[in-house]
Structure formats: structure tokens, C-alpha cells
Amino acid sequence: MIEAYLLVATGLLLTIAVALWRIARGPDPADRMMAAQLVGTSGIAIVLLLAAAGDDWAMLDVALVLALLAALSVVAFAKSVRRAGYGDPEDAPEHEPASRPPEHTDA
């Protein structure tokens, strides 16, 4: 069984290699980020298989952390597309304030 788990895990590494090709190739930032998501999901699956192969189920906590934080960089990425990382990625462009209020900061 251990060999079978590791074999499937090696197959998943191959899908990661394919996703890496897409990250390198692009062409859009969205493509690269999407491929990174695939790497994340494959990585979680590999952790599950390694836990079974090593019969060490404490490793499942690593999968839990990865699954929890997988979307964190996507959120940061989606935000980074607008207003240097702070605006709403879902806002339609016309919702953007056309001009900012005047600033009185020079004392």
C-alpha cells in the first residue's frame, strides 16, 4: 500500500510540474495565480497521501493549514489588482470615486 500511495503522490507531483509550466508561461497574472491554486490543491492531496503512507495522521494538520491558507494569497492577489492592494476587487469601475476629496495634511 505504501508504494501505491507514493506512486499516486508522484503522479500528483507531475500535475504540479504541469502547473509550474503554466506559471512560467502566463500570459496573464490571473493564469499564473490559477496555476498556483492547482499546485496548492495537489499539495494538499499529497499531504493526505503522505499521512497514509507514513501512517502518521498528525500530518493531516498540515493539510488543514494548507487548505485554510490556500486562499490567502489569492485574496491578496485580487486586491493587488486595484489601488495598490487596498481596493475592492469586486467593485465595478464606475463605483470608484472619480476624484478624491481635497487633502489638508501639510501643516
Binding site: 507514493l6 498556483a36 493549514v65 485554510l68 494569497s73 485574496v75 491578496a76
Partner: protein
């Protein structure tokens, strides 16, 4: 014995690092670096270092990616002039030097004398340390001194980031204001994920007493919960002079110092009495997790900034 899986994983890690360092495209390098942390976590699992794998998964694959993406988008917004390419001679020299270092290391690996390590000593002391997880025992008890200094390094980094604030922005809320549509995907995401992350973070801190886990791994997950809440626009980032925030930042290091001084009065620095070690360690771990979570999250939010025209 090394399997094809180990060979393939090592090779992939090297390829990813090569793209992150040598690739021409900046955003691509950052994305490669995010996947780098994830594959490193797998490598740590294969080396039976589950505690390290947890830390790498939380920090390397989670937090560092956010830091890099935010910093990169802000750099792009500033449109800095391109950096000049280094002289080809310098580049060739760097290549030769780096290759020499790697070759030397590769040649040295089989020649290194085999050491038995310290696990026997740690296992001998383990019943007296107040925890069943040997890594937690080393981190908090046997080498607690290192961990105390580490928490101070975290605080020092935060102070360094805060010194970059302009005087007129100080003391404001950390970072800039995040806007989101209240009924949007991001806001919903921000409502569901942080409670789960809170539970899992607390679980990791608690489980560190007897299995892989601990204050650093749990603290990072807690930090992630806070970061998502702020990025989803559900909570504003705290003011940097907020008393609760400052208490949270200092709780862990202060508890550590108090324990060290108390131990000094009784016996010697950072020696826990074995009969009360379990309780002390659990309390210390909980406070450390709070401090680490607060510090890491504040490092991601950044120094207070101009918020005019941005607050909703």
C-alpha cells in the same frame, strides 16, 4: 530509502527556486516563491519533521505570499525606475562563486561525520519539561532562551516597519483602509473563513503540548484569520497606539521574561519546576501565540498610512 517521489520533489523544489531567482518576470517569480513554500512543507513531511512542515505551511506557503504580493503591487504603483543590470563580470563572478559554494557543500555532505544528535538527551529530559512534544519541549523549556530572543526579533521587526511611518500619519490605523462590497464574494469569504481559522489556530496551539503544533504554527493561523477579516473589510486594522493591541504584542515576551526572572530567583534562568511545568508551559504557549499572531498580522498590515479619501 529514497523513493522516486523524493527525487522528483527535490528536483521540483530546485526548479521552482531557479525560476523564482533567475526568471525574468517579477510577478512570476513571486508566484513561484509561493509554491516554493508549499513544496518545502512536503519535503519536511518526508523528513519526518511534522512540526517544521506545519510552520512552513503556515508561514512559507501562507503568510509570505501575502507579504510579497502586497509589497509588489505597491512597488509597481510607485513606478520605480528600473534597476541597472549588474556588470557581466560581476554576474559571472557571482555565478562561479555560488557554483563553488554548492559544489563544496555537495562534496562535503558524504564526508561529514555522523553525529548521534541530541534526541536521546531530549527524551531523557522530556518527562520533566511539562510537554509530550519534544519540539515544544526544546522551544519553550530546554532552549527557551532562544525562543525569548526570537519573540524579541519579531517585535524589533515590527518596530522597524513602524519607524517607516510618516510623522503626520502617526499614530493612526495600521496600513491603509480596505474597501469591499458588503454583499460580495470577498466579504462572505471573510465571514466564514476567520471563525474556522480561529478554531484551528487554537487547536494547533493546544495540540502542541503532545503532538506536532505549537505557538508559532497556531499563532500564524490566528494571524491569517485576522488578516482575512481586515482584507475583507469587515474590521478595520487597529490603531498602532491601541492599548489592547500593545498588550497583545507584549504579552508573550513579557510572560517569558517574568518566568525567566522568577526562575532566576528560585533556581536559574528559564528553568521551570517540573511539578508545575505543564501549567506554566501551556500558559506561556497561549500568551506567545497571541503575541505572535498580533505581531505577524501587524507586519502584514504595515505602518500607519495616509487614509484620506480612502476610508469608506
Amino acid at each position: 530509502m529514497a523513493t522516486p517521489f523524493d527525487l522528483a520533489l527535490s528536483l521540483l523544489v530546485l526548479v521552482i527556486a531557479a525560476f523564482a531567482v533567475l526568471g525574468r518576470h517579477g510577478f512570476m517569480a513571486v508566484v513561484f516563491f509561493i509554491t516554493f513554500g508549499l513544496l518545502l512543507a512536503l519535503a519536511w513531511l518526508r523528513l519526518d519533521a511534522v512540526d517544521v512542515a506545519l510552520a512552513e505551511a503556515a508561514i512559507g506557503a501562507g503568510l509570505t505570499g501575502v507579504l510579497l504580493l502586497v509589497a509588489r503591487s505597491r512597488l509597481k504603483a510607485l513606478e520605480p525606475p528600473l534597476a541597472p543590470a549588474p556588470h557581466p563580470v560581476l554576474r559571472a563572478g557571482a555565478g562561479v562563486g555560488a557554483a563553488a559554494v554548492t559544489t563544496g557543500l555537495v562534496l562535503a555532505i558524504p564526508a561529514l561525520p555522523l553525529s548521534t544528535g541530541l534526541q536521546a538527551e531530549v527524551m531523557e529530559q522530556l518527562p520533566l519539561t511539562g510537554t509530550d512534544n519534544p519540539v515544544t519541549a526544546v522551544l519553550l523549556n530546554l532552549r527557551g532562551w532562544d525562543t525569548l530572543l526570537e519573540t524579541l526579533v519579531l517585535l524589533a521587526a515590527l518596530l522597524g516597519v513602524w519607524t517607516l511611518a510618516r510623522e503626520i500619519d502617526w499614530p493612526g490605523r495600521a496600513g491603509r483602509a480596505h474597501r469591499t462590497r458588503p454583499d460580495g464574494v470577498l466579504a462572505q469569504f471573510g465571514r466564514v473563513l476567520p471563525p474556522l481559522a480561529l478554531v484551528i489556530g487554537v487547536y494547533l496551539v493546544w495540540v502542541g503540548g503532545h503532538r506536532p503544533g505549537g505557538a508559532f504554527q497556531g499563532g500564524t493561523v490566528l494571524a491569517a484569520a485576522w488578516i482575512v477579516t481586515v482584507m475583507a473589510g469587515l474590521l478595520p486594522a487597529p490603531r498602532v497606539d491601541d492599548r489592547t493591541l500593545r498588550t497583545a504584542l507584549l504579552a508573550g515576551p513579557v510572560a517569558f521574561v517574568v518566568l525567566a526572572v522568577a526562575g532566576l530567583l528560585a533556581d536559574s534562568v528559564l528553568v521551570f519546576p517540573p511539578d508545575r511545568a505543564k501549567l506554566l508551559l501551556l500558559g506561556l504557549e497561549a500568551l506567545l501565540a497571541v503575541s505572535i499572531a498580533a505581531t505577524l498580522a501587524m507586519l502584514v498590515f504595515g505602518a500607519p498610512e495616509d487614509r484620506s479619501g480612502r476610508d469608506p
